[in-house]
């Protein structure tokens, strides 16, 4: 009775929910750092060995930051599909993360138009009808025109969806109209379908088709499993950062972190489940046209990295995050979040780098500089987006539920 009456009242936010002058400082520093690192890497790397090391590193980091962005979009959509209440105070950050889709579209266009495709993808140079049966049967899908169409479609979907959810949510901050929540909830199931299809084919196009002869029906889900897990880590880090600056100190509590920790844990397990399912079937069937992809990842040094991925992306965090107290203690959760982001990056590295041209494990300076470059721009775009809006959906009808949320 009491709880019901309380939910009818408009909840009062007791903490600072505006970035204020914290935002521009971070945004400017990140932008300058990002532009220098990105510009410098491209200027130096585009002529180096035909640009191949540059574009490989570019693709690793592009896949990494796109996945963080998509993770944000996934989170927002799922909260609306499930009519979730607990997550309202976390949702604005996710909405802003998703809105970085426009930045990833630009970075992606740079890759496609700048020569990344020709440099990394063998199929980019192939034409059907030259006796290459494996390519011939895939040519209706893997050709320049259709690729451009798909590439534009992915980013169009992500930009439209992220803008829609962000803008509608911000509009509600002013009007407080609960119908906006209902509208977003009505549209979210369609968004789920569009999201799942676009993410799957994006992973197929950008990562799987690096080896056009290889195929795995698990591949899209594999990319998604890493994506979602990485976003929860980003959410934990972003919220911790904001709280460290005296923002959202009251609305976001240990309970929300605990739930985000549970989601990280869940996707640690899900990732392993998918990775194993993909590996086991190929290992068991033992057909050369499938096994060579793993063979490339078991060569000199690569075997160690593959093992590191298994231990560091699954066993370690699985045992570390299993206990309730590890997820509720801020220090340990933060450490786990940083670790999982690092492992997700290693996962992208593991997907992109190996190949017939790289029999031994090899890293390049561009792996790091482009991480800083794209990361800088990504952080800049995120803080720019959050600058003029409240950091929580202030008048969401479920805000009270989220503020009172507790795990039992």
């Amino acid at each position: 009775m009491n709880a019901h009456a309380a939910s009818m009242e408009r909840p009062v936010l007791k903490d600072k929910t505006r970035l204020g002058d914290v935002g521009p400082k971070i945004a400017h520093a990140a932008l300058i750092l990002g532009l220098i690192a990105l510009g410098g890497s491209i200027a130096w790397g585009v002529t180096l060995e035909g640009g191949k090391p540059l574009w490989k590193s570019y693709l690793i980091n592009f896949a990494f930051f796109t996945s963080l962005t998509l993770g944000g979009l996934f989170f927002v959509i799922i909260q609306h599909v499930t009519h979730a209440g607990w997550s309202v105070v976390v949702r604005r950050v996710a909405e802003a993360v998703a809105c970085n889709a426009w930045l990833m579209a630009l970075l992606g266009a740079g890759f496609v138009l700048g020569g990344g495709m020709g440099s990394l993808y063998e199929w980019w140079h192939l034409h059907p009808g030259h006796g290459n049966h494996l390519y011939d049967i895939k040519a209706p899908y893997l050709n320049h025109t259709f690729f451009y169409i798909r590439f534009v479609a992915y980013f169009a979907i992500w930009i439209v969806l992220s803008q829609y959810f962000f803008r509608t949510s911000v509009k509600q901050d002013e009007s407080g109209d609960p119908n906006l929540t209902l509208a977003m909830e009505r549209r979210s199931p369609l968004a789920v379908i569009l999201f799942a299809l676009s993410l799957t084919f994006f992973a197929v196009d950008m990562l799987m088709s690096l080896e056009y002869a290889w195929f795995s029906t698990m591949f899209g889900v594999y990319y998604f499993a890493g994506t979602a897990g990485a976003f929860f880590a980003v959410a934990i880090l972003t919220l911790s950062f904001l709280q460290g600056r005296g923002l959202l100190t009251e609305s976001v509590t240990k309970e929300h972190y605990h739930d985000l920790g549970k989601l990280v844990f869940a996707f640690v397990v899900f990732w392993c489940y998918i990775a194993y399912s993909q590996y086991m079937l190929i290992w068991y069937a033992n057909i050369p046209e499938e096994t060579f992809w793993y063979q490339n990842r078991l060569g000199d040094g690569w075997k160690g990295l593959s093992l590191f991925l298994l231990l560091g992306h699954f066993f370690g965090p699985f045992l570390f995050l299993m206990s309730r107290w590890q997820k509720r203690r801020h220090g340990t959760l933060l450490a786990a979040a940083i670790w999982m982001l690092f492992m997700h990056w290693i996962d992208m590295f593991w997907l992109v780098k190996p190949g017939a041209d790289m029999p031994a494990l090899q890293s390049s300076v561009f792996d790091l500089t482009l991480f800083i470059g794209m990361g800088g721009l990504w952080v800049w775009a995120l803080f720019r987006r959050l600058q003029d809006v409240s950091l929580v959906p202030e008048r969401d009808p479920r805000l009270g539920e989220s503020l009172r949320f507790e795990n039992y």
Binding site: M280, Y284, N286, M322, R324, E406, Y408
Partner: protein
Amino acid sequence: MTLSEAGTLTPPGDAPASADAPAYLHGVVAQFETVDDILAAAAKCRDHGFTDWDCHTPFPVHGLDKAMGVRNTVLPWLVFCGGLTGFLTGIGLQYFTNVMEYPFVISGKPMASWPIYVPVVFELTVLFSALTTFFGMWGMNGLPQLHHPLFFSERFKRASDDKFFVSVMADDPKFDAAQTTTFLESIGATHVDRLEE
């Protein structure tokens, strides 16, 4: 009316034998009217230092475990050990059968191939964890229990309807029928029933 074997009539309501025996006191149960009352009472009972006591509510009351000072259960550790046992059993069972007891080459794979162990290891880890959780929870709660002294109180039936109860059992070192009753009344109980056989 029942006719005894001796042919004499026993009047109804006259319970045999037990009437003369002294009633055995199992503890007391106190009734509270609201959620706020039971939360306050639980905190006071906790501070009073009772050890063999419990709260009974018609629905889950959030924060009650904190008010009661309930310590964390060791069940997760048991479950972890159960899971680990399942994990090792899965590996051991397959290694023993595939490598030691009946070595047989299947589709050219090595005898000890970890990828094929995973499904069984996974299932046994889950199974052993689940069984440990289930039986551990029953065991640690002293279940199954077909009867409990609380049911001697008629009023206690409303614990499944609209009233809140605190029970203190006679085994508690701090228990004293008169004093405990006074204490419970002083912290807001509206009725205190003796749990007598």
